[in-house]
Structures are given as structure tokens and as C-alpha cells.
Subunit: 327 residues, 4 copies
Amino acid sequence: MELGIVGLGRMGGNIALRLMDAGHRIVAHDVLAEARARLAAAGAEPAESLAALVAGLAAPRTVWVMLPAGAVTETAIAALADLLSPGDCIIDGGNTFYKDDIRRAATLQARGLDYVDVGTSGGVWGRERGYCMMIGGPAQTVNRLDGLFAALAPGAGDVPRTPGREGRDPRAEQGYLHTGPAGSGHFVKMIHNGIEYGLMQAFAEGFDILANKNTPALPEAERYDLNVADIAEVWRRGSVVSSWLLDLAAIALAGNESLSDYEGSVADSGEGRWTVFAAIEEAVSADVLSAALYARFRSRRDHTFGERLLSAMRYQFGGHEEQGSGH
Amino acid sequence: MELGIVGLGRMGGNIALRLMDAGHRIVAHDVLAEARARLAAAGAEPAESLAALVAGLAAPRTVWVMLPAGAVTETAIAALADLLSPGDCIIDGGNTFYKDDIRRAATLQARGLDYVDVGTSGGVWGRERGYCMMIGGPAQTVNRLDGLFAALAPGAGDVPRTPGREGRDPRAEQGYLHTGPAGSGHFVKMIHNGIEYGLMQAFAEGFDILANKNTPALPEAERYDLNVADIAEVWRRGSVVSSWLLDLAAIALAGNESLSDYEGSVADSGEGRWTVFAAIEEAVSADVLSAALYARFRSRRDHTFGERLLSAMRYQFGGHEEQGSGH
Amino acid sequence: MELGIVGLGRMGGNIALRLMDAGHRIVAHDVLAEARARLAAAGAEPAESLAALVAGLAAPRTVWVMLPAGAVTETAIAALADLLSPGDCIIDGGNTFYKDDIRRAATLQARGLDYVDVGTSGGVWGRERGYCMMIGGPAQTVNRLDGLFAALAPGAGDVPRTPGREGRDPRAEQGYLHTGPAGSGHFVKMIHNGIEYGLMQAFAEGFDILANKNTPALPEAERYDLNVADIAEVWRRGSVVSSWLLDLAAIALAGNESLSDYEGSVADSGEGRWTVFAAIEEAVSADVLSAALYARFRSRRDHTFGERLLSAMRYQFGGHEEQGSGH
Amino acid sequence: MELGIVGLGRMGGNIALRLMDAGHRIVAHDVLAEARARLAAAGAEPAESLAALVAGLAAPRTVWVMLPAGAVTETAIAALADLLSPGDCIIDGGNTFYKDDIRRAATLQARGLDYVDVGTSGGVWGRERGYCMMIGGPAQTVNRLDGLFAALAPGAGDVPRTPGREGRDPRAEQGYLHTGPAGSGHFVKMIHNGIEYGLMQAFAEGFDILANKNTPALPEAERYDLNVADIAEVWRRGSVVSSWLLDLAAIALAGNESLSDYEGSVADSGEGRWTVFAAIEEAVSADVLSAALYARFRSRRDHTFGERLLSAMRYQFGGHEEQGSGH
């Protein structure tokens, strides 16, 4: 099969490479000449413009947009829509908010274009391990593109089969899934990321308690000087918390047990926030997923206005002087 | 009536003054001569030792211990127990953990001594406004000491009467209450402080959102430059959140709207922690009270090990470089 | 002054009555004839339609819309905009989302109409106690309507003055405030309600721990049979948690200490949800305000899918049988 | 090597079987004759009493106690201590609170006995997969027993090696670890379980949001009827949230996508609670681990007193009638 790819950064570039490994033909565009050249060297046909990319594909064309979510993606898709013909298909593989997918799919459908949203997990390990994909859009289109998704997916690998799945969608075991209509792919990927935040924060809190078990605040007889690198490693085998995130924690801790090469100022992206919005819209409690998000917010601030207000109220009612303040 | 007071700091000293204002006789001890002299100047009979204090009182004696919770209080009560006679009474007015009260009451009872635990709220405003008291111990003893409690309590004041209280304990309307057996006074005070943490954090978060409504992270049309001092003030009249803590916030904000004279490093005392322990022992969910406690913990740390682990995991799976780190 | 009021329910009706008490002229419309008649009997001039209401006012007209937020309010304002003339003013006193205010104000301004959003706190007690008002809109218009706001507000009353407010906006001490441009009134009211959720949940958790201190899960020596009605009452005097919400809790508990006449299925309205959205948009942590919202969500569900998944995972890894289930 | 085992339930029995598979000699005691007989049939030497068990072992003896934490374990260890001789060793493989380990180790050491605490993860899968073990106690003793631990552990298996572990403790890669002095094994296992609660709750919330994405509360265009069984399966391959707990969730959902065979009343054990205690003692924030615990508490209650209080306050200030209540 053949595919146009717009955006040849780490994700888009690796997707192109993995598809070419599987024998697919790639026409590749990026605004950076260097990125185009890198992909060309690897066997892709470079396109200097969106128009050139569209011209380089046979109908029905499929163009995978792999750009930062938001205005950049929006603009690229609008431009592509003007260049493509009825029956062609645009895939958004980025981290778009699913309500934007719903809106876009309706607009494009009115012009005869198909729209498929693909939530893509796998990060920098994807090229080697394959990408876990959650795919929203018309079933017919998703089926037509099955060869591309199958090539990108991790495949069954040596992951043990889940008993009792007979009769269920076999694609899930290959690592990709048609989740439903437009937006559902990005919605499921968004919840995936929300869960990821929660899992990460659970590990963060647990290791924080381990790392502080030697604090002078504790009675001396109850202090331990624990080796968190070894603990992460031992939990990788046979424990209930074994997981890929733990594998990654073990790698990081093996390299530097104190993690002193990190500051601890943690970014968040849209998915974690949108997951909380989705929970609230459904009136579903999401204490853990929210707390995980808030911990990241707090990690990026020095002191908050709220904390200063706490100190101020304490001073007012109790005359409690804050250490190191005028009060 | 007459009362011995051990510990003439801000709380103990003011309690003595308020009782003397009401005509009670006070024998006062503190390890600091200066504190003894200050109370003597105000009309108390100073006692240079616990023995002198006990000797200065007629049986049945009552001694109010107002010292920092923990070893200091424990030692003073043990020493008093050796000096007092059957029928005498020790009051612990500090912030003792209620399980220590239960243990102590049993020990003292075996020696014929009464033990009364008084949870005391009011802080630096207590001398003027009176102290809200939650009192645990034998009913007979609590009743015998009613004159002291009534003098210390705020009284009905101009607080509107709660409709439907006919037939209920009239002391509650005066601002003091016999809550039950030993430890119950401190238990109720402990929960009071746990709630206080939650209330304070609710205000802290709300004002944090108000103060950040002008952040460049928002679209310009959705930013407001809000006057938090005026907002605190307006909420004091007729709003659902009107409260003494809001009054204090309004005072602090009127003085310095940016609270720039506070750093935001917020202390916590035992009660907030014990409230969470109590909730867990009862299997009662306490999300808000716990979150309030954790916000204080976090306010006193720079970056946590957990936050560094989050950054490390993000780097491992996504190659996300932390701003300003080697990664 | 004179004012048109649209919507004569509990809030709108009481606002009309309080304004008439202060000598203002009210033209009143409601779709229900009964509501119009009730207000007419109290001295208002009833208007059978929006057109009649507009016709009954002299320019520059002011119309206070007091309807359920959302489509009903939106429709009424659109209809009024067609009937009013440049220089007239529409007030939305309901619980509108502040971004809707921003949009509306721009639309109406283009037609020469002023728009003022008033966040109104006070509930059923407002007619008697006055309404605490947070007001967004053009300063000139807000100033022109000052007589109305002053009449609706609680006034200084016997609330002690906050020291240090010299030189600050005197309206705040009367219980109303011009908070800034369009939407800011509802934004501040929204945060007020978010805080209210947090305060309420802090009390809910604290009283839950008190009420369960007699559970058989505790060692017998550590159980207390606490009187929560008396505890609520005693905290009203001199304690740090004294507040209007505590007054209300005391009233409810005095009437029925076990609260057996309530089920505990707790509704939430938009403001609590929007507060969380606002916090996330600003990247401000709001653990307590979110937890308070989630507790309400959870109170309205029987068992959640998430809880069943927890049971299912426990069964899978540990063979833990759920009580009363097939597993 | 040879080992006495006390307690032949699911855990103790499987441990005995796995050790015998590896060629170790087992003397096995349980109060239930049936349990003894089952192990005897599998090759163990049954002992009708603790005394018989001790008599059946050569010095220095090692006895593994695998009983419910608390009084049962405490009693058995006290009885064994009276039967054993200096140089012998008691292993507690259960879920004992680590402070009890510290106390016990000191008591036993004074009598010349060694004490080793083993936190054991693996559940019903342990016999087949091996047990992940966290081991506290004297290094010399732990080293002497290495053959037993190595036989019980999962071994390196096909889990990929963590890069950069050269020079670190090789036991961790085999799935067992000497964590430090007495109590540290159970402490690390306790934090493991605390993390487990957090991970499980993150999945629970995420799947709850997925399962409710079809609620009528949402606009029809934003609803999806998602297949949670397929989603759990697809995430097992290449996604960031892949983990053993997800594997188990996938098994459960493959069998019954609605989980209708579970009620959702979720038990908790000591470790989750003690993890929160440990966090608070260290002043470490543990929002996610606490929220996970509280969600389990809440899942076992119908309505709470706190929720009824919320309803009561809402009725008092707003006249909000609760659905289905007299108010």
C-alpha cells in the first residue's frame, strides 16, 4: 500500500520507517528540508509541499498527519482538504482533542472526504516495539487501511494470550483496534494517557515513601536506608505491580539511584486534563487521575498563593510565625 | 473557685487572666521566672515548683496543665500525680493524642485521681472572645468544675440561637461541652482541627484560582485582574462561605493583597495527621481532610523524589527532556 | 429607580420584594400567571410578555433576568435584545457560565446594549439577610445601577469591620462588588460555589468520623458515642471552624441528630464543575475542590463499574472472593 | 536444604510445593489434619504439633510461619520461640506490620534466635510464576537461606534485563532481595501493596469513564458505545499502561464485559492503610494512594453520614429538596 505522511518528527519519521520496513510506499512531507532528506535517504519519496505530496499519491489517497495537536494540525488538515478529492482519506495520528475530531469529520464528510483519528501509543520505543493504536472512523475505511495498521502494530509477540477472547475482535491481540466512530480513537487514547498519569503517580508516591524512610523525622529504630534501584528491579519479577512503567523506572534508577539528574518539574499534556473534563461531564469520580494531574501542576510551581494564604490565616488565628518570614 | 495552672505561655497565661477576670483564684507555675512574675503582677499567686503549687491549693485540688503535647506534658502529669491526693483532679488542656488520655485516665484513676481532657479552641483571640472547649472525663468531676468552664467559655454572645435545641445540653450554647469519657474531649478537638485544615485548604485553592485568573496561559479575553482583598470582604456578608476563617483571610488580604510577606511553607500539627488515622481506623473516606494535610506537606518541600521519578519515566518512554535538566 | 424582572421564582420573586421594600419600582414578568399575580399583590406591575415589560419601563431601561442558566436564559436574553434600545441594559443574575457572559456581552455591545452579570449568593435567606453580589460589566453601568445593588445587598450589618481596609472599595463592606469586565461577576461567584463545596465536604468528612467513632471495628476502649448535634453547636462559639455552614449544620442536627430524613444522594450544579475546569485551565492544583465534587458524584451512584473492576482484578490475582458474589 | 512450614493454606501450601519441586525437604504443620494430609501426599513430612515440627528438623532450624497477620501469627511465633534453640531462625512470610517485626526481632535476638521477615507477592499465581520476595533480617542469616529464596523466586525468566545494573545486587534480577534489617522486608512489601492500590484505582477510574461514555447525560453526538474488553486487550501490546494488572483486567473483561458477576464491594487489607500511615509519619504527600484506599472504603458503604449532612446543609441554605426524601 502507499501512504502520504505529513510531519516527519520523531513520531512521524519512525512511523514512516516502520511502514517502509513492511514494504509500504511512503510519500513524505515536512517543512524542514533536513527531515525530508533523512526520510528520503531511508527510502521515502520526499514531497516539498502538501500539493506535491497529494500529487505523488494515487486515488483513493490516504494522508497521515502527524503534527503537534492544535493550530498546526488544524491548518494542515484544512489545506489537505482543499487538495484532496472525494474518496480520499485524512488520518490524524496526533493527540487531537476528540471533540475536534467529531467536528472535523462532519466537515470533511460533507466534502466527500474520510477522516480517521488514530490514538498512537508507544513513544520512542514504537519503531522497534510497534505502536498500539486506537482507531476512530468509518468501519469501511478503517478496514481498507488494515494493512497499514497491521504493519505499524506490535503484533501478538510473546505476550500471553488472554483466555476467553474467542469470538472477540482479533485486531486487539495484534495491538490495534477500531474503537468506533470519529473521535473515539483519540478518546480512548486520551483515557489511556489519563490512566498513565495515575499509574505514574502511584509509583512516584510509593518510591517517595521508600526514599524518605531514612528521614530524621522518624524514630531511629524505624528508619531504613532502602535501595530503590534494587527494589524497582525485584518488583519486575512476579510482583503485582510489574508493568512497563516499572521497567522504565528500574532503568532510570539503575542509572542513577538518587535521580539527581532530574529536577522534578513535570510537564503535562492535554490528555491528562481532558480526561478529568470527560470524567466530570459524565459525573464519574476520578480522584486518582485528578490528583496525578495536580501533582504535576504543583511540581512546576515554587510556592502557591494558596499556600501563602494558609500561612496568613494561621498567623491570624494562632500567631503562628512562619519559619523565615517576617510573621 | 480556685485552680492551679501549670504552663503560663500564650494559652495558659491567657486562660489564667480570663479566669481571674471572672473572680477565680489562680495559683500559677511556669519554669520561667519571667512568666510567673507576669502572672503575679496580674493577680495570680506564683508557685516556684509543682510542689509549691499543690501546697497552695485546698483539697479537692484541680490543676490545669497547659504545656506542649508529648513528653513535656507527660512528665508534668506524672510529677503532679505523685504530689496530689485522692479526689484531686488533673486537667490536660493541651493538644494531647486522645489514646494517651485513655491510657493516662486509667493510670490516674487507679490512684484515686480524676483526669479531664479539654480540647481548647480559640488561639490568640481566646482571652477576648473566650475559649470553645470540648471536655472529656467523669461527669461528676466535669460538673463540679462547671464554674471554671463557664468562665472560660465565650458564652452565648450575640450568636443567633439554633432553633430546635430545646431539651438539649445548654452548655453547648455557652461554648463548652462535656463530650464523654476520657479522651473524648481531645478526640472532638482533633476532628475540629482536621475540619479546619479542610476549610482552610478550600479557601486556599479558591483564592489560588482567583489570583491566577490573569495568567498568560489563558486566552487574553478570558483573563481577569481580580482584587482578592475586596472579594474576601464581600463574601463576608450574606454569602454561603462566610466564616471566621474568611474573616481572617480578609484581614490578611486587606493588609497585603499579594501576601508577599509570607513564603507559603505551611506547618502542620498532630491533630491533622491523627484525624486521617482516625478516619482510616473507622474505614471512613476522608479525601478532603487528607488532601489538605498533603498540601501542607508538599508546601514544605522543594522538589520530591516522586516528581523526579515522574520526569525520569517520561524521559524513558517519550524522550521528554525536562526543562533545564541534562535530560 | 425602576427595574424589570424576568423570572419570578424563589430567587427572582424575593429580589423583587426586597427592592420594593426599598422603594424601587418593579415591572415583573413570568410565564406563569400565578407568579405574576403573587408579585402584583405585593406591589409590582405585572407584565404578560417581555414586550409588555419593556414597554412598561422608561429609557434607559434595565431588565434583570433571573432564570435557570442555559437555554432558557439564552432565549430570554436574545428576545429582550430585540425589544430593547441602545443604552438599555440586561442583567443576568442567574448562574451562567462566565464564558457565555463574555460572548454575550460582545454581541450585545455591538447592538449598543449593556450587559451586566451578577453572581448572587444568599439562597432562601436572601430576602431577609440580603444578597451578596459579585458584579461584572462596564463600570459606568454598574455605577448607574448602584442604588439597586445597594438595596439588595445585606449592608454592613453587625459584621465587625476588617481592619486595614481604609482606601479600598467601600461597596465590599456593604456586600456587593464590581469585580471587573463581563463575566467576572459570575466567575467570582463560581469560585465561591467551588469553595462552598470544599467547605461542606470538610464538615461532612469530619462529622462522618465523629458519627462512626462508635463502630464495632474499633477496640471497645476507643469507642465514643458522640452527640453530633451538641458538637456542632459548641463549635459555633469561639472555635476556628465557626461559619454559616456550621450554623446550618447545627440547625439540621438539632432537628434530627441522625439525619435519617435524608438519604445522602447529593446534587451538584455547574459551578462546582466549572471551578475544576478553571483550575485546570490555569494549571492550579485543586485537590480539595475536586474531591468535594467527586464525593457528590459518588453519592448518587450505587456501585460503579470501576469498583466492579477492582473486585474482578482482586479475584484474578488473589482469588479474593467478593462477599455475596459468585466469586 | 530443609524447612519447617507452619500454616498450609493457599500461600503456605504452595510455597511448600514449590520448594519440594526444587528438591528441598519440608516438615509441614497446620492445625487442620486435612491440610497436613494434602501436603504429606505431595511429599512433605507432616507434623501434628509445633513441637513435632521442631523435633523433625536439624539445628540450625528454620521455620517459615505463613499465617494470617495479627494474633494468630503472634501466638505461633511465641510458641515456636519457646521450642527452638539459639541459632535457629523464624521466618514470618505473612503480611505483618513492620513495627511488629522490629519489636519481635529484638525480643527473639535476646534469646539467640534469628528473625527474618519476608514480604511475599505473587498470590495464587505464585506456585507457577514464583514469588517475588522482599526480605528483612540479618545479612548472614539471609545469605545462609539463599537456596530457599532462590527456589521460591521467579528467576530471571524472559523478562528483559534492565541496562546499567552491572555491579548491583544480582538477587533482584532473580526476583528476591535482602532489603535491610528486621521489618524492612514487610515495609517494602507494604509499599508495594500501597502502589498496587493506586495502580488498580487508576485503571478503575479510567475504565469507569470509558464505560460511561454512552450516558444520556452527554450530548448524543459525543457518546460512544465502547468495547472495554477489546480496549483492555489492545492496551496490552505496546502501550504505556501495559502491566500485569491490565492483563488481569483483560481476562476478567474477556469473560464478562459488563462485570455483572461482581457487586463492587471492595475489601482492603492492612498494607494499604499502613502505607498511608507511613507517608504521614514521613510527611510525604500520598494523594493517589490515599484516594485509592478511600474509594474502597466508600465502595463498602451504602450512604454515609457525611452525604446526609451535605443534603441537610443544602436544604437549609437553598431549600434544595433531595430527590426521594421528605425534604
